[in-house]
Symmetry: C2
Subunit: 129 residues, 2 copies
């Protein structure tokens, strides 16, 4: 499916129900990827594999419950893989799959842009308030 | 601020509190932009200016309350501008600012990638469940 199917140019003359349709797979995956924590977990794992406790520290503010839920969704979508090392004590690493790395590569320019403009945006918003 | 400040490579040896810091402006703006509805409103307005009722139809499933709230946040961040036309009856259009268009240009490749892979991702996830 091309993005133009999901986000079709909508003529003023007649919008169809097919523009940004609520039930399309693109909306489902977009919701997962751009969830409050999804982006941050993907970006963190884009740098390197991390263990549970490391993810909790890196993604500041995420609760145990939200980290578990976010990882479950990203695993189900095939972005994240959980690898248990046969060591004593056992050790579990979370990594991006190839698909996850592809996605992270598309998130990176967006993050770069936001990081480069965030100070200005927040200070402008404070000035207007 | 560069993205590397917000999302620094975290060495296993010692994570600092500066990695994805919860209070940094990048996190604030990221939350706005990647809110459940923020992305969809930005993409819709990236195509063309739209009136309230048009936005409600294009961004399927958004409630009056959530559309109002999303537009308020995107206006405060300087991404969206509300233009009242001096016509009878009065007419209000929502458009992207230059900053909003820049942001939308960075969202587009992400959306394209998701749209191109969403069918496969959702069907894989269903197969694993």
């Amino acid at each position: 499916m091309k993005v133009s199917d999901a986000v079709a140019p909508a003529s003023r003359a007649g919008f169809t129900d097919g523009v940004l349709p609520a039930a399309c797979p693109t909306r489902v995956v977009l919701d997962h990827v751009t969830s409050k924590w999804g982006v941050l977990v993907l970006i963190a794992l884009g740098e390197q594999s991390l263990r549970w406790g490391e993810l909790r520290r890196v993604v500041q503010g995420i609760s145990e419950k939200m980290l578990a839920q976010t990882l479950r969704v990203l695993e189900a979508d095939g972005f994240v893989i959980r690898v248990a090392q046969p060591t004593i004590p056992p050790r579990v690493d979370y990594s991006l799959t190839d698909r996850g790395h592809e996605l992270a590569a598309h998130l990176q320019p967006l993050l770069e842009w936001i990081a480069g403009h965030a100070d200005q945006i927040v200070s402008d918003a404070a000035g207007r308030a």
